[in-house]
Symmetry: C2
Subunit: 301 residues, 2 copies
């Protein structure tokens, strides 16, 4: 699982800081999460192949999370994209994108498929053999969802040496990978666990931005490998956090602790602070494994 | 008159090239012309004070000319702007901006005044004591206007030495500046031209993008100080220019020549070419004074 942070600051893009956008590579998928103004340039800067992006998830319709979307869609068209593009986001996202295409008289020559979200309950919005994506209902000034990306457990791996020693016919390998016991060439029953190895633990990534401190998301993000939780403010500005429906670094860490996640990633920083150490220090008082997002940073988990 | 080129490439923003946006300073006004994605970042990069921009002119509703507008409007709000903002552009521009503000539930706390354009004839869309702005109807794939910015002739300047020698009371200075003859302390009639100097020639700037070669704009841009004319292609791709309703560098130069302008500025380059020399060379075969726009370049005229 690999995460490329294209932008991790709040409010407005500036000369040296970008607004929210991330690329998550998980089980061969490449998901784009949020799309602030300038995301397409950040994608180019970090040499991410546009054609690999087939699903875009938009948390909410504030500019710093989606003003780059229509430009990216338009650029896909100019690059003569043919592949379907799925867009998941709040109701209204289809109207605003199609209005801009109508005014520009420039329709896509690829399928643009909108999945508009309206529920306040967590729901599964994408599933295939490799991953599932669920919404994480958040609480912000407008309708907002976080997203939980979960690898599915893969097949068991063959212990090739053991399989050969047990005289198992190759025709049974698939059954072994799926966890079944098999009969060998001599007619003996071979227990699966004697000749296979557990697959890697499935990984998961929870993206939670923007939101106030909302303890009931803990049940959804419980035990995730990595939790990204917004930390717009430090505790000394907790009054601003609650007023603007954002979180502090301490609050992000409390969600991580209650959720028993492996790693907490912080981001969506207000640019009012000098440097990011304050965020890390504050969160580490509550939770042990804190990492800071920075524009352009790549994490492998 | 000072022009800052924020972006001068066509189609899509890239890591090193920006789409169309320019800031024109003329007679104390600061006009923003077009607003491709990332314009607000370019404004910051070039240290242009956001608060000085009170009028934004949008030629047409293709993304590379206006996808940065809603982000800029939104950032003005976050900066707690109070001053009115006037936006001139094709019909539809108000709908798309207001829809995005509605979806984000974030209304401006300053007056946002739209002047939607629909005419196919040149019309004066702004006037005060210092400047006039007229549309230049262009021909592109969607409804498009260029803009002609014209200084008004200023007051005559006093030749202070001559004024004093002629014994003219200070109470008459304003009349002198306005071109009138006056009577001096001795009761003698003093001819205006003996004690005043002509003001600087009023300057003008014509912005023409995007458009096919359209000879009838020559009557509108005749004798302008500076003509910016798009040159997306070189002549070897003239077939693409006519197909996509753009111009070549040669065609831009022909408009400059027929219009008897002082300086031709080229821009809106396709990124298919290696470097910009080809554009300049091609135009100079037709017209003597050609300059190339480049992102970040500042011209004083």
């Amino acid at each position: 699982m690999k995460l490329t942070v294209l932008g991790c600051y709040s409010a407005t893009p500036r000369a040296l800081t970008n607004t929210t956008s991330q690329v998550l590579e998980i089980n061969n998928h490449m998901f784009l999460i949020d799309c602030g103004e300038g995301t397409q340039v950040q994608l180019r800067r970090h040499k991410i192949k546009f054609s690999r992006i087939k699903h875009i998830f938009i948390s909410h319709l504030h500019g710093d999370h989606f003003f780059g979307l229509v430009g990216l869609i338009s650029t896909f068209r100019l690059l003569t994209r043919k592949t379907d593009l799925h867009i998941y986001g709040p109701k209204g996202i289809k109207e605003v994108v199609t209005l801009q295409m109508k005014l520009a008289d420039s329709w896509t020559n690829y399928q643009l498929i909108f999945h508009e979200l309206t529920s306040n309950e967590s729901e599964m919005i994408f599933e295939d053999d490799l991953v599932e994506v669920h919404t994480i209902p958040l609480e912000h000034r407008v309708y907002t969802n976080g997203f939980l990306f979960k690898e599915k457990a893969g097949d068991r791996k063959l212990d090739i040496k053991a399989v050969k020693e047990a005289n198992i016919n190759v025709a049974y390998y698939r059954k072994l990978k799926q966890g079944g016991d098999v009969v060998n060439e001599k007619g003996e029953l071979i227990k699966n666990e004697l000749v296979t190895i557990s697959p890697d633990n499935p990984k998961s990534y929870a993206f939670c931005s923007d939101t106030v401190y909302k303890e009931d998301i803990v049940t959804i993000i419980k035990n995730t490998t990595v939790l990204y939780h917004e930390s717009t403010f430090l505790e000394k500005h907790a009054h601003l956090a609650s007023k603007t429906k954002h979180s502090t670094a301490k609050q992000a860490a409390m969600i991580a602790k209650h959720g028993n996640v492996e790693t907490l990633l912080l981001g969506h920083y207000s640019t009012r602070y000098d440097g990011l150490d304050g965020f890390k220090n504050e969160a580490e008082e509550i939770f042990g494994n804190v990492k800071l997002c920075e524009d352009g940073k790549v994490f492998s988990f």
